[in-house]
């Protein structure tokens, strides 16, 4: 939940990055969101343009990569695909697993344009 406040936090991060790098606009943003992050990607995608209006990220394309839930078994060592409500190892059935992926809420990459009047 709270996709709008997450979108607003993302936009603030992008504005800081743009200011640091002398960028005039953010072109593209890639996020990784897992099902166990507590955030619904579709709602975040809807909230982003609203949060970004009037900022350097106003026209940025948002790419949301959904990360699968995968676990690494602490008993047999196997890595297997799992589901949010069942993280048990699909190879041996043990419940003691570690999450290999699935709870990410990450800003992965940012593509931006430098100030128009900068000369190389």
């Amino acid at each position: 939940m709270h996709e709008f406040s997450v979108a607003a936090a993302l936009v603030r991060q992008l504005a800081r990055l743009a200011a640091e790098r002398g960028a005039c606009a953010v072109e593209r943003v890639t996020l990784e969101v897992g099902p166990l992050s507590g955030i619904e990607p579709a709602l975040l995608a809807r909230a982003f343009p609203l949060a970004a209006a009037g900022t350097p990220a106003a026209a940025a394309a948002l790419e949301l990569r959904r990360v699968p839930v995968r676990v690494r078994c602490r008993e047999c060592g196997a890595e297997s695909a799992a589901s949010p409500d069942d993280l048990s190892c699909r190879a041996c059935g043990a419940w003691r697993t570690a999450l290999a992926s699935g709870d990410e809420l990450l800003l992965r990459t940012v593509e931006y344009r430098l100030e128009e009047d900068s000369h190389v």
């Binding site: 991060q13 209006a53 106003a58 048990s88 419940w95 697993t97 800003l107 593509e111």
Partner: protein
């Protein structure tokens, strides 16, 4: 309209969202930054503050009405002489819970969030300004009753305790994996009702928690039965001792 689902479009921001692109070269950068980094930064500050004072901070979470405040009252009655306890209360409205805590002899700060359905690190940071941590052993943060949102927001606590009451049903860990994965301890509360609500199986609830790969202890308690609370008090004492020696 609400702030959280992205539906607050206005004529002003709709136009600016469709501003035309300019020409220019594009630079890419790998950012790999957490999107909740701002909250996490304040949470780390809160945690450092607790550590500097040797205080154990416990975040209590559950659905509304699971018995968080009642549990705190019973805990204050039993441990109030042994540990100095303070409470930060979170609710949308009313000071009811803070008043109940004060009636049991502990200082309480009430955060009324208005519309926010969870506490965040900023709110807790501001509330801590109203508490003198020098005289405190344990701070309980009683979060807003909600099994969804509070799980996502680090407050600076050392431990998360999630309550699941018997009337709620034993499949809640499967339905709310983010919350129950975050639990360092699960308390099945209102166990005095097991005789009446025999469809609730504490074993099934624990199995659902294990299926989330969470090894946290599960304790069956009733605030009406002081003996059932003994393992909870022992757990608190052990966690408090661990903080004191850090």
């Amino acid at each position: 309209m609400c702030d959280t689902c992205g539906c607050n479009v206005t004529p002003g921001n709709r136009e600016r969202a469709n501003a035309p692109l300019h020409e220019g070269g594009v630079t890419a950068v790998d950012a790999l930054a957490g999107l909740l980094a701002e909250n996490d930064h304040v949470a780390a500050h809160n945690r450092a503050h607790f550590d500097a004072h040797g205080v154990l901070a416990v975040n209590l979470m559950s659905a509304p009405g699971s018995g968080k405040t009642r549990l705190l009252e019973a805990t204050l009655d039993a441990l109030g002489g042994r540990f100095r306890i303070a409470v930060v209360e979170g609710d949308l409205e009313t000071e009811n819970d803070a008043e109940r805590i004060r009636a049991h002899g502990a200082p309480a700060v009430q955060i009324t969030t208005g519309t926010a359905c969870h506490l965040d690190a900023h709110l807790v940071h501001d509330a801590l300004h109203a508490l003198d941590l020098d005289g405190v052993d344990i701070v309980f943060v009683e979060n807003v009753g909600n099994l969804v949102c509070p799980a996502s927001f680090d407050l600076g606590q050392h431990r998360n305790v999630v309550l699941l009451s018997v009337p709620e049903g034993d499949d809640k860990p499967a339905k709310y994996p983010v919350m129950f994965r975050a639990a360092d301890l699960v308390l099945v509360t209102k166990c005095d009702l097991l005789a009446v609500l025999d469809e609730f199986s504490p074993e099934r609830a624990e199995a659902a928690l294990r299926r989330l790969a969470n090894p946290a202890p599960v304790m069956r308690v009733s605030a009406r039965d002081p003996e059932s609370l003994a393992p909870w008090f022992e757990w608190l004492a052990a966690e408090r001792a661990a903080v004191a020696t850090r």
